[in-house]
Amino acid sequence: MADKYLELVNSGFTKNLAKTLGLPRPSILRRYAPGAPLVPGPVLLLGNSPQAQELSDVLLGWGLDVRRHAVGEGKVGAIVLLLDAVATPGQLSEPMLAAGHALRQLTPGGRVVSFSRPALATDTPAVAAARQGIDGSVRSLGRELRGGATANGVVLGERVDATAPSALAALRFLLSGRSAYVDGQFLQVDSATGALPEDFERPLAGKVAVVTGAARGIGAAIAKTLYRDGATVVVVDVPAAGDALAKVANLVSGTALQLDITREDAGKVIIEHATSRHGKLDIVIHNAGITRDKLLANMDAARWNSVIAVNLESQLRMNEEFLAAGLPGLRLVSLASTSGIAGNRGQTNYAASKGGVIGMVRASAAAFAASGGGINAVAPGFIETEMTAKIPVATRTVARMLMPSLMQGGLPLDVAEAIAFLASDAAAGINGRTLRVCGQSLVGA
């Protein structure tokens, strides 16, 4: 499943050949590794915010080299654009142009992260225009970046400061290698709840997490990532996938639970396993999913119904069980898909289920928040998995290269990183939201 093209254009003789021929050269993305620097260079803090100084102090506290003005020709690791105080379209000009000036100094794998406020129907037209303009502008900036650099934003809800725990956590996530394949996206923080971890390398320490569909692909990557971040992991998959599931369980020193999540009592079984074996249940990752692609004209009931049953109805049913159990502080992350947002030919059933997840998450947020938890979704784009490996090579190469700003498919790890972030207590202020992990593309399964 390795992206051979990516390897070829980034190493040795073929790298030079690709340069000479002017072939598109997707970059090797900067991904998180424990112990690696948070940002590969100084952070340029542009724009104005009531919390600018506080934020600067936090970044300094993270060991970053923070600059308020571009200086010299040195490389810049990240640009943080403070746009949360922008009230008119005219106020965008100065910080955006300053950012543009600094772009050529942005190191490969660099980051641009904006802070802004949401454009609401209750805003004055000018305020809403300015805020909505940020959305389009930052996304466009993302499309201009090269070298695996990304542009994303943190949207601060009402009464949420830029230094709220989840705002800082979102910023840190977007600056770090954990967000390698997140590009052109906005994370909205709606409350000041949550707490930053004591150890940023083990943000899930002491947590008990359940991952469904964990036998392979993205699910297995999620399990490994949650384990790396300190969680005790229960991996769940259908009994028929039990052998692969056992391998994952043994890799992450967790426990394997062979369970068909479409069972009526699946939620109960999960709660019983987690609480009896590990004492509690803190995190559920609804990852299990199937595809049964067919053009709608040729779709049969079995294909349609099975996808809805596995990808959506099972989650709805389990969530009811989780709510009924009143598990304190339970954080859930559900797997959506860019297909559920932008649509994908041959996936009317799958897109219904994944679009459904986005709706489900939005509508479930308040209920889970009531017991101190939350629920969000992650929508992957084109991810290199066993599932996508079945797509013909030519289609696959085009899909992974031409559409996304990052000119490549993501890795299961990239999805897992976003999930691990949203599952953490530090993300408690983010609820009911869907984060795309698509390299700024809308192609994907």
Binding site: P239, D243, A246, A249, N250, Q258, L259
Partner: protein, 434 residues
């Protein structure tokens, strides 16, 4: 009913859970899997189920009936290849089809004595990857050649070679002392107890139906881990009918003519597979937040003289049960489940008939009254070897884990296990719900 069996001086040995790979008919799905592959997979599945990664357990014991000489340390090799701590000691046990029971029972004893706190017991067998030996004359010639020091002695050894030496020796299922296969032995017993073809076919059908139903209600979801693309026992025929079974021709005891009643349908086929059971002390289970399904109360082995026709080859459990019941002050009816290994339908039915027979119980078991009949609705309720198959050494682990879970689900009572074995042996055991 008597009080719960307790021996104050020793502590309980608890069955925490089990794992097996689906059993596959010989030369089928696991044709390329070795005993080591399968047993390692069974251990790893258990480790995954109970989160035992990197743990140093007290002991792992098990074995295989058919073993390659290279597998002289089979179980230890499996442990080294598993996710357990490499500091977990392991040893091989071999007691024909009772290998698994003997391994589990003796581990339970060690736990009860406080020698160890945790253990894995089980067994594995393959008739697909069976050892094939060189012929005896070739073996002797090669040994002589190895011993020969001088060229002359070597030439002399080699001069003994004959092309006929190249015919290999495959392991047989025959009893070495009688030359009769196990099936042909059982055919004698089946006839001696007047077990009808119909009764045998009915038992076989019930085994398939019960096993299939157990799968359908997810009973095995936490007892089996798939292997090599197989997630259900390949011998299982949930759609079998009494008519289909009745249409099969006799496979054993064909010399009995009209009295030949044993077919491929009411006899277990050669099967490949592996099973393991996790045992521990109560303290171990509680300290590790592990479930406690059942207590391993007691076990007993017996053997009979089948060589001189004094008793049927597979009738030893009938004797072992009598002795074990007496020691535990129990009657045959004091059980909520009976797990009688279905080597052949005739084995189960002959054993039941013997327990009901006053003369047998008096003369052979030395009892004043027969042990009596059991409630057949409590027999092998989730299927047994006729449906699941019978990879010799792996059957004990399958049964112990299955019964322990059944008892735990019921929440009370006890179960009886009976496993017959080659060489006229048998091991039986009592489990008690927790």
């Amino acid at each position: 009913m008597t009080a719960q069996s307790e021996t104050p001086a020793i502590r309980q040995a608890v069955i925490i859970g089990g794992n097996r790979i689906p059993f596959a008919r010989s030369n089928g799905a696991y044709a390329n899997a070795s005993n080591q592959d399968m047993f390692t997979a069974a251990i790893d599945g258990l480790v995954a189920r109970f989160g035992l990664q990197g743990q140093r357990l007290g002991a792992v014991a098990g074995g295989a009936v058919l073993k390659h000489s290279k597998d002289f340390n089979l179980v230890r090799e499996c442990v080294l290849g598993s996710s357990l701590s490499p500091e977990t000691p392991a040893y091989d046990v071999q007691m024909a089809c009772a290998t698994g029971m003997e391994a589990i029972g003796s581990l339970a004893n060690k736990i009860k004595l406080g020698q160890i706190d945790s253990a894995i017991g089980g067994g594995v067998d393959t008739t697909s990857d069976a050892p094939i030996a060189v012929s005896e004359p070739l073996r002797l010639m090669l040994l002589e050649l190895t011993r020969a020091r001088s060229t002359g002695a070597k030439l002399k050894a080699m001069s003994k070679f004959r092309p006929s030496f190249l015919a290999p020796n495959a392991p047989g299922t025959g009893e070495p002392r009688t030359g009769l296969s196990m099936g042909n032995h059982q055919a004698l017993t089946t006839k001696a107890w007047n077990i009808t073809r119909e009764a045998q076919d009915e038992l076989a059908l019930a085994s398939h139906k019960n096993l299939a139903a157990a799968y359908d209600r997810h009973f095995f979801d936490d007892l089996i881990t798939p292997f090599a693309g197989v997630s259900r026992d390949t011998n299982l025929r949930g759609d079998s009918t009494i008519e289909k079974l009745a249409s099969l021709k006799p496979a054993f005891g064909k010399n009995l003519g009209e009295d030949a009643t044993m077919t491929a349908g009411n006899s277990t086929p050669l099967t490949d597979g592996a099973s393991v059971v996790l045992l521990g002390s109560e303290d171990y289970a509680m300290a590790n937040d592990l479930p406690m399904l059942a207590n391993f109360v007691d076990f007993e082995a017996a053997a009979v003289d089948f060589v001189h026709g004094a008793e049927g080859l597979l009738m030893a459990p009938a004797y072992a049960v009598a002795r074990m019941l007496k020691r535990n002050n129990l009657t045959l009816q004091d059980f909520d489940y009976y797990e009688i290994h279905e080597a052949f339908a005739g084995t189960v039915l002959s054993t039941l008939a013997a327990w009901e027979d006053a003369e047998f119980c008096k003369n052979k078991l030395g009892l004043d009254a027969p042990l009596g009949a059991i409630d057949r609705s409590k027999l092998n309720v989730n299927g047994s070897s006729l449906a699941a198959g019978h990879p010799f050494a792996a059957t004990g682990g399958r049964i112990v884990a299955t019964l322990a879970k059944m008892l735990h689900e019921k929440g009370s009572g006890r179960g009886l296990i009976s496993v017959c074995a080659a060489g006229g042996q048998g091991v039986v055991a009592i489990l008690e719900a927790r």
